[in-house]
Each structure stands twice: as structure tokens, then as C-alpha cells.
Symmetry: C3
Subunit: 424 residues, 3 copies
């Protein structure tokens, strides 16, 4: 049996996160996690649909798993295009399709495989929703899926089963034909083809109650973290140098070469990547920190996802997602709460920091507002308030103008003496 | 004997502090402190003059002390109006009048009561001033007060005795008559009536050398704190969770349900109210913190009075007075010192932070200047400098405008490598 | 033999550092260090050339070393003028000239003295440069210096020997004559006279491979620190009060009366001057802190030179040089890195903070950009970004204007309750 991992998407809604496939959770990228899940479920023949933008990087990973990378030429063709791009690699074996947009536990793969031992033509993984979720609901009749209804609206759900892209097709050639003959040229061409196939073939739902996390918006990265924290094995690598006065509380994984300086606190769950420095009096809690980072003096990183090579210094970073190679001047703040404490950027969260791409520099005492997206290769100067999204490759400064007059004020040395005396 | 506590004032000069009667010192409100002082001096029949604005709240407290609340209809009538409002509740018993504007030790009450055992008609508590104070000085002739002279000016004091509103009247009906016939319609009607009564009755001064603190301006709250710290019994409630690495130094009272996280320091004298969290690396010193507060990571609260439900996070709060339910974004600073280190807002202090009402939100990296008053129900956005008083119910923002250009700067990876190597 | 210490310069390029002679390294001023070096090399007869601006202060020091201070009237005459000013104090003894612009180890003095025991007319100390340095290169022919070539350019060096102003003249009267007859009226008059003398006399180079640090630009102060740290004897004065939870790591010298509060970290090499307070959670590393300073809560001072009486509070101070009696409001930041991480102010450094004179006040949350010079007696208000040099005696403020509207936002108490519950 073949598996096809759909990884060609451009992560548009996840911007400025460059490529969600390479977000690294506790030392492992999402694509590695998915490939390992496929392997442990028994798949040996894996295809990966990539785009021009990430093909090379995916090939680097694929090699380690013996997977074959296929380039989807036109990414506008969506999932349908990705499947069609693999046509020449398919044969009469069954096909198992997985999307990088849907992260599930490895046992989900096994459930679908196990279910496929009975004789239906296709199986779709489906999660049981207790309350309405804006996804594709399955209409099921006598155990057979007869329709997928996208976002039916609360109260109109045909079942409590929502479609997840872990799909099994016993006869992939029929899927290919259906995709080719699909009347739709839109984003939903894959779903239209499925609808058509359902008229001819028996589709069954495989119910699943484990972790399922769509990864579309940047905050989904934060939503995924608890799962990986739960899986994470707490440990301190023997090469790590932890100052005696530093505190490591709760489940924390500290990798090779990490240094934790005096009075730093790491409050689990937390992951500290290789060669990262957690400096004096810093606080890391509920966060994933990548490799080669510096969490400088008096910095708090709370409930955030931080890529490799990020440097902080006297910053507050809360509920933030960021890529690689970013650096923040002292006093720069990632705000994570509106003044009215209401929902931020339609994320369903009232705590959400800004989202950063890669290679970004932020000046001292600059404030980035909650939910703001800062594109890669951007520099933001000092003392600013950034309350709008910033495109990649920008240089952002302000209009501050100094008024310089002669200083007519005098200092009262006696006041100072008195203050000094009060220090105890 | 009856006692009358004058608590109807609108605390105008204390704005934006909403009602000084309910400022809570080490767990007890000022009005509770005064009612307990009256009770312990033996008063069982207590009247409280309240206004429409605080009657309901005062009734809640009065019930616990068996006190009767009387509403003063027109607050513009001042003290005279308050006393007149109680007329129907008075009988031929003596009347003891206390003002919420004057806070004294319980023994002051006892001194006046004891003095009243001799036969004069009225007694006024008087504190002995070593240097000039802008209050009402008593002119005393052969042990009898013959006049009250308001703010006579330095050098013109008729004695060293300054009037405090702890007044005993053996015949309150004569006071009522004098108030009714008073020629003054102004703020000083009470004093004019006293002057008139002095012509007919024997008034005596009761000298007092204990703590006396007028509570008119917000900084008087800070001035009162040392007294309550001295009275405070240091203790840590058994339910409090104090991290092993946290430091509690000097006289500190920690109430039920408090949590103190790693590396926090509480430097006494200090009071930490119920269920408050003092988070990692925070410093509280010389301060009263209310219930249900969060003193977040890397926050210092120094010599300040903080009401219930206030949240801080990487802030400096020095010499500040604030009400309830306020929240400060990371990096927001309560400045407490002028650049020229001179007196702030005619407070007689060179260290005084801003004063806050209730339900205020302050954005990240915003600076509030010394002595500034921020009214209740106000929001101040991020990155601002607030150097003017803000009325209640305002939304304050700035005129920051970003200039966004293409980023032509490049990063020098070798420089970064070199910096990383230097970290030890 | 006489020694002449040239200390009259106005430190123009070091501005806003007021007088480099009085920069205090680990408790000793530069001029004291040089006078002690002269004394330990055996000099008993020391002249110091001072200017009107620093004569009085230098006389205070000179007295302790039995040195004579001579005032150079016209500082525009440079080194030549300084030497000529001493003419009446010279006799037929040899003259040893040292400049306050060149700091070397005491053994350099001894090397020149020892070399002078052979019979040449003059000796110049010379350091061997491995790579090109923009200084005065010595042309040497058969052991004799025949020329000094200023800044020959890389590849054009006549030797690898660069002139340092530790000069020995066996016949100072010939130097005087040469200076008088020099055709130059410019800055280089001294060098022109030397060139002329070389035609008649035998000049020899004394090679030296020890520490040599020109002190011209402010960052040279930082460059000098490692030498003094190496010489420094680590110790904690018995009168110092160090909290049990404070950490003193590596070579640190702590002087009389110092207080180090809970959770502070001093990471050596570091020097903490008399009566200085290092407050809770502060971090001092690789820095010299003067006497009577306060390194307040949550402040980091890294790789910096701090004069006496400087107060910090929740600041970041990195790679900064400052004089005396400066004070920084909470959240003020000394930025020390460009966003592009490139060289700052032609200093050869990519990490360099701002440079401060004396008696400066900086408001809260103000950011001073890397390499910026802030003159003495200046006040900078709050919340500013200072990206230009500030002349002495200025009052710097901004154009911030608040927009104040009615607050129409409401607070969601349930959101707050939920946040509070999440705190652990």
C-alpha cells in the first residue's frame, strides 16, 4: 500500500510562518512526525507532494524515510492537483492520503488501516465533535458515508462526525478518474470528486477520538504544543550546564549543550533546544525554545513557540509563535492581551501574542501588539508601537522628533542624599 | 453616649481614589478601623453619616458593628450638614464626633472620653505641632479654648495645638442650635458654630501626641501605611504556597491562598492579600497588596498601596496609590521621581508615583509620570507617555505613525556567530 | 632624571567623557595609575602638564605623588606646547615624556629606562603590530630610527613598529630648541621636531609587546578594562553585606560598604566600588561600577564602565561608558547593537552602547541608541528614542500628544476569571 503525504501547501493562512512542515516541536519537525507516524503504522512506500518553494527542503527529510518527493506544479489546484501529480507513481495498490494540514496521533493511522481490512472501497477518518465545528460533516446512512457537507451550520449537522484528511482508497485509479472528470475548478475539487465517488463506491467513516489539530492559522501551533509536551520525555542532557541556583520545575526537556544561568527558572512543560542559553533570572514556561537561542537576562517566554537562533534580552514574549533567527532589543514586548481582554484576531483566544517569520530584528522598547503578523526579513526600529501587520522584507521606523532646549533645571543634591540614606 | 462618624465626603481631593473609607490597610478598611476604634473605646451607639454615593456600601459595614447609617442629602453642606442630618437621632446624651478625614490611634478616642469626665461642655482633640502646619490652631486661655484660627501662617500660631476632628459635646442640642443659626453657608459653617458656642460654653483641648494622619490627598494613603505596618502581625498563612527559593525578609504578612513563586522577594514591611500571586523574580517592598492580585514576573512594587484584583507584569510601580481591578501591560512604568528630583504635585514628596482609580488598563511600555491622576474605567494604550491627569472613563491613545520602507539592510551572520561564542 | 606626564588635553575625541585622566579603573584613576607606574620605575621628580580646565583637580592628585603641576596656557599648541611650558623646570637631566593618551604596563617604563643605559640620544617605545594600525610607524635603519611615518597605509609600513609616547631624551634642551625652531604650527609640531632631531641625534626604538591602549575614543575605556580586571585582586571587603542568595561568580572585587541584595548576580570579572548597592535580581557582568552607585532591581550592567554616583533601576546598560552622577528611570535602555549588527560609530565594534558625561538624567522607558554621545548636565525625558548626539546642558523632550476619547470598551470579567484560574 502506498501513502501520499500532501505537503505542497504554501501555508498562506499561517503567514508569516514560512512552512508549517518544518515547525519543530520538541526537536522534531511536523513533517518528520508525520513520516514517522506513517512508518510506525507500517507504510514503506511513501510519496510526498511538495511545491517548488519547499521541494528541496522536503527532499532532505524524505531521504531519511525512503520517501519519494513529487512536485506539484500548480499549487492553485490544491489537494486535487497534488493527488493528480502523483498519478504516474500509483499502481493498483491501495492509497492512503494524509494532509499536512491535519495533525493526528499515530494511532489514527492504525485505525484507518485496521478498518480497511473489511471490504469497503474507501475510508475517511472522522472525529466526533461534541459542539459545532466549522468543518466537513459526514452524512452516514447504514454505516455508509453518503455525503460530505461543508460547514452546515450549528443545528444542521447530519452527524457528529467531522472529516479529517486521513483517507484510504482501495482503488486509487477511480479517485484519479473522478478528479479528472470533476466539474469543479475550485478549491473543493477533491471534495467534489469524493462526493461523486460516493455514489458508486462504499465509503465508511473511521471514528477517532484522539488528538486532532488542524494547522492552518498560526495559533494552531500553540494549540498543538500540549500534545507534544505530553509525549515529551523530561530529561536534562548530561552536557547541559545548569547553575545550582537555577530552578527546573515540572516536565522539562533540556537538550545537549544547553546552559542555564543563575536564578533562571524553567517552569514545565518546556522544551529547550540544543546549545540554547537561558540566562540569569530568565523565565521560560509552557514554551518550546529551538536550538541555539539566547533567552537573555530578565526575559520571560510564556506559552510560546520559538524557532532556532532567536535571541531575547529583557523581553516579554507571551503566547507568541515565531520562526528562526529573530532578535529582540532590550525592553521589546510581545503584547498578548487586548486592553478590553477580548478575542484577538478571530483566533478564539483572548491571549495571543504577535506572530513572527524569520530573520527579524526588533529594536529596544518596541511594542508589538497582540496577533500582529511580522513578515520575514524585516527590521523594526526602537521605541515603536506596531499595531498593523508588517509585510516581509520591510524596514519599519517612526516619526519621533526630539525637541532640544537648554536645560534650565537644577539638581537638588540633598534630595539625592536623602534617597540614598533610605536604601536598606 | 452617641458617636457620630462623618463618612459622607466625596473624597474630592483624593481623586481618583473612589472612596477613602474603603481603602484597605493590611486587610481592613479605614472605616472598619474607625468603627473598631470606637467600639474598643466603649461606644455602642454609633451613627454614620453617609452620602448617596456610598450609603449602600457603608450600610454593609455598619451592620457588622450595629451602627446606624444616616444619609446626608446635600453634601455641599459639609460637616455641618452631616451633623444636622442626624438631629432626629440625637437625644440628651453626649455626642462624640469623628471624621473619616482624620485618622488617629484608638487611644485618642479614649483620651477624649477620659478628659470628658471633668466638667467642661466640649472637648477637642489637639495634636502638638513642632513646626507650622496649615491647619486650625487653638487659642487657649487658662485651659479654655477661646478660638480656632484656621491657617494663621507660620509665626502667628496662637499655640502649638492643632485641632483634630475628635470632638465631644456634652449638650449636642446646643451644637445643633448653633449650626442652625450659623451665619455661614460655606464650608466652614461647622467651625463658625463652634466659635459661637465657645462664647457661651467651656471648650477644652485634649492634647495628643500619637499618630494623626489627615486623609485628604492620595499621598496621605502612603503616609498612613507605616502606622498599619507597625500594628501588623507578621505571619504566613498555612495555606500560602511559598517557593523554597523565594525570600521573605522582615515583617511581612501573607494571607490565605497566597502563592509566591521561585526567586520572588518580599521585603518587609509588606502585606500580601488573600489569593494574591507574587510571581517569579518579582519584588514587593514596603507595600500593601490587596486580594486576588498578580504581581507578575520581573515586577517591582515599592512603597505602594495596591487595591484588590490588580495585575502587574514586568512593571515598576513605585510610591503609587491605586484602587481595584487595574491591569498593566509588560514594561509599563509608574514613574516616581522627577528628572530634577524636586517636589511632585505639591505633595511634599520628591518620590511619588501616579495615582489610579479602579478598572483601569494600561498598555505595554507605557509610562505614567509622577503624581499624575488616572481616573477609573480608563484605558491607556501602549507605548505612551502620560504626563497629564486623565479623567475617568477615557480611552487614551497616541499619534504614532509607522513609516514602512523596503529593508535594504543585510545581516552579518559572522558578527552573530562571534557574539554567540562570547556568551559564557 | 625628570619625568613629564602630558595630561593637559581636553579629551575632545573622548567627549562626553569629561577628563580621561580621572576615569577610575577598579578604584584607581588613570592618572594615579600612570603616576604610580612612574614612581615604581624609580622616578621621583615628576612634572605634569595640565590645562586650565583640569589643573586644580590634577594638583589634588599630584600632591600625593610629590609631582609638580605646570599649566599649559594654550592647549591648541598640543604636545609641543606642553613640553615648551615646562622649559623653566628642566635642567641638564634627561627627560622622560609620557602621555595620558597612551596607557601601558609599568614594565614599559622600565624597558625604556633600561634601554637608556646604552648611549643613544633618545629612545621611543614601540609596539610591534601584526596587522596594520593607523599610527606612527618607525623607519629603522641599523637599529637607528630615521623617520616616523604617520599612517602610511596598509602595505606601506616601513617596519612593524608603531610609536608610543613613552619617550626618553638625554638632552631635553635640544628637544626644546627643536620645538622652538619647528616650522609647523599644527598638531604635529612635536613630531616634526622629532624628525628634525633624528637628523642630528641617534634615536632608538624600544620594542614592547605588552598591553598598550591609546585612550582617545570613549570605547577605548572599554578596551582598557580587561587589563585592569587582570591586575585586580578579587576580594569581598569584610564590611560588605552580601545576601545569602546573591551569587558572586568569577573574579570580583567588592569594596567597603557595598550591599548586594537577594538574588543579585555579579558575574566576574567585575568591580563594585565603595558603598554601592547591587539590588535584588540585578546582574552586573564584566563591568566596573564606581562608588556610591545603585544598580537597582532588575537592572543589567554588562561590559560597561560606570563612574561614581550613578543610579539605575530596571535598565539595560550594555557596552556603555559613563561619567558620574547619572540616573536612569525604570525601563530606560542603553542599546548596544544595531539592527543590522554592523559596526557602530567607526569604533570597530558591533557592540557599543551610548556614551554619557556627568550629571545626566534619563526618563523612564527612554531608549538611547548605540554609540550616541550624551553630554553632561543634560536631561532626557521619558519614552523617547535618542538617535542623535546630545550636546551638554540640554533638556530633551518629544512631541508626544495624547488623544483622549470616551472609553467605549467594556471589560469581560469572565475572561479575567479564566486567566486567573490558569495561573499555577
Amino acid at each position: 500500500m502506498k501513502a501520499l503525504l500532501l505537503a505542497a501547501g504554501r501555508s498562506r493562512r499561517a503567514k508569516p510562518i514560512e512552512d508549517k512542515n518544518f515547525l519543530k516541536f520538541c526537536g522534531k519537525t511536523l513533517i518528520e512526525f508525520q513520516l514517522e507516524s506513517l512508518q510506525s503504522a507500517g507504510f514503506q512506500d511513501i510519496l510526498i507532494a511538495a511545491g517548488e518553494h519547499n521541494k528541496e527542503r522536503i527532499e532532505g527529510v524524505a531521504a531519511q524515510y525512503g520517501a519519494t518527493v513529487i512536485q506539484q506544479e500548480n499549487l492553485d489546484d490544491g489537494m486535487a492537483g497534488a493527488v493528480l501529480a502523483t498519478e504516474s507513481h500509483l499502481n493498483d495498490e491501495a492509497l492512503f492520503i494524509v494532509s499536512s494540514n491535519d495533525v493526528v496521533e499515530p494511532r489514527a493511522y492504525e485505525s484507518v488501516l485496521k478498518a480497511s481490512e473489511s471490504g469497503a472501497d474507501a475510508y475517511l477518518l472522522a472525529t466526533q465533535m461534541d459542539s459545532y465545528f466549522p468543518g466537513g460533516y459526514l452524512k452516514v446512512d447504514n454505516g455508509q458515508i453518503t455525503d460530505i457537507i461543508e460547514k452546515p451550520g450549528a443545528g444542521n449537522e447530519p452527524s457528529n462526525l467531522v472529516n479529517i484528511v486521513l483517507h484510504f482508497f482501495r482503488k486509487p485509479d477511480t479517485l484519479i478518474s473522478a478528479l479528472k472528470s470533476s466539474s469543479s475548478n475550485d478549491d473543493d475539487r477533491y471534495e467534489v470528486a469524493l462526493d461523486q465517488l460516493m455514489n458508486e463506491q462504499r465509503f465508511e467513516a473511521v471514528a477517532y477520538d484522539g488528538m486532532w489539530q488542524p494547522v492552518k492559522h498560526p495559533w494552531h501551533v500553540l494549540d498543538l504544543m500540549p500534545y507534544f509536551f505530553n509525549k515529551m520525555e523530561a530529561s536534562v542532557h548530561p552536557s547541559a550546564e545548569i547553575a545550582e541556583s537555577a530552578r527546573i520545575n515540572g516536565p522539562v526537556r533540556i537538550e545537549e549543550g544547553v546552559k542555564v544561568f543563575d536564578n533562571a527558572v524553567i517552569q514545565g512543560p518546556a522544551y529547550i533546544g540544543k546549545n540554547t542559553v537561558v540566562a540569569n533570572n530568565a523565565l521560560v514556561r509552557g514554551s518550546i525554545i529551538g536550538d541555539d537561542c539566547v533567552v537573555g537576562y530578565a526575559t520571560e517566554v510564556a506559552r510560546s513557540f520559538i524557532g532556532d537562533d532567536c535571541w531575547f534580552h529583557s523581553n516579554y514574549v507571551g503566547d507568541t509563535v515565531m520562526g528562526e533567527n529573530n532578535s529582540f532589543g532590550a525592553g521589546a514586548v510581545c503584547a498578548n492581551l487586548r486592553l478590553d481582554e477580548k478575542e484577538i484576531s478571530k483566533s478564539g483566544r483572548n491571549k495571543l501574542g504577535p506572530i513572527f517569520g524569520d530573520n527579524i530584528r526588533v529594536g529596544v522598547n518596541t511594542s508589538i501588539m497582540p496577533g500582529i503578523r511580522v513578515g520575514s526579513n524585516t527590521m523594526v526600529t526602537s521605541g515603536l508601537v506596531v499595531a498593523e501587520d508588517i509585510e516581509p522584507g520591510k524596514f519599519v521606523h517612526g516619526k519621533t522628533e526630539l525637541i532640544i532646549k537648554d536645560n534650565r533645571a537644577s539638581l537638588d543634591e540633598s534630595a539625592r542624599e536623602a534617597m540614598k540614606k533610605k536604601l536598606s
